[in-house]
């Protein structure tokens, strides 16, 4: 199951969903559930770690939105190769590392794993472009 691009995509979507739950949980500890379930008309700072988690979620959602079309194009274009599976495996591992490093506030390494995930995405698009026109 971890050897096909669509499965790895579904796995990453699951990881992003879990990151959202962790973010809400961390914010609940600092500002409380009543504020979170209110319409939040007044913005409250959530505290350092929940704010980092919020930025982690934002960044993860963007990464997910960018990689999903690439996986679909590779699959429907019939150009999946072992290297595209490897690229998705690298992508998922890099994004897991990102989601751990960001809340911990570790610089440079976070940027490096972000770049790794980004390059894996670009690679998938380049392979998708080799699909024959129909």
């Amino acid at each position: 199951m971890l050897h096909s691009e669509p499965h790895l995509l579904a796995l990453y979507a699951l990881i992003v969903a879990i990151t959202m739950v962790v973010q809400v949980g961390a914010a609940a500890l600092t500002v409380g559930l009543p504020y979170l379930s209110s319409p939040r008309d007044e913005q409250k700072p959530l505290g350092t770690v929940p704010e980092r988690l919020r930025r982690t979620v934002d960044n993860s959602v963007v990464a997910l939105a960018l990689v999903a079309p690439a996986v679909l194009l590779v699959e429907t274009g019939g150009v999946a190769i072992p290297a595209t599976v490897l690229a998705m495996q690298i992508f998922v591992l890099a994004r897991i590392a990102f989601a751990v490093l960001y809340p911990l506030g570790i610089p440079y390494a976070r940027t490096a794993v972000w770049a790794l995930g980004f390059l894996a995405t670009i690679f998938l698009y380049l392979i998708a472009l080799t699909a024959p026109l129909r």
Binding site: M1, A17, S37, L64, A68
Partner: protein
């Protein structure tokens, strides 16, 4: 078309409706001179409470929709679509429709519960695609 993909198309159309629901009051309140400008500075007036809530509901659905899109496509491509995943897809759509008035009218707790219903429906679909 599978029920999951029908729900997905309807969810995307719902997002179009949400965009319209937000952009009409936003343009009326901020003025089209501002909204069509590059928006380098902050607008002279702030959005009303209702329009700001509609904006947050719109932003929230973008996140939900990305996860839901992957869930629908993954269950369809992996051949795992079935009664459970179809029920989840319709539950997601219903939750996202209910989310808009719940946010607009400031129904605390209900909005979070409605959000959670849509979220866990998506989660179940992703799990169904994986196992």
């Amino acid at each position: 078309m599978t029920p999951e993909l029908t729900a997905l198309v309807l969810a995307a159309l719902l997002q179009v409706v949400q965009l319209v629901l937000f952009s009409i009051p936003a343009n009326l309140e901020l003025g089209s001179d501002y909204t069509t400008s590059p928006r380098d500075g902050q607008p002279a007036r702030k959005l009303s409470q209702g329009a700001a809530r509609l904006q947050r509901a719109l932003d929230n659905h973008f996140e939900g929709l990305i996860l839901f899109t992957i869930a629908c496509v993954a269950v369809t491509l992996s051949g795992k679509a079935g009664t459970l995943t179809a029920a989840c897809a319709w539950a997601y759509l219903a939750a996202r429709v209910a989310y808009i008035p719940a946010y607009y009218y400031g129904l605390s707790t209900w909005r979070s519960l409605i959000w959670a219903a849509g979220f866990f429906a998506t989660l179940l679909m992703l799990l169904a695609a994986l196992v």
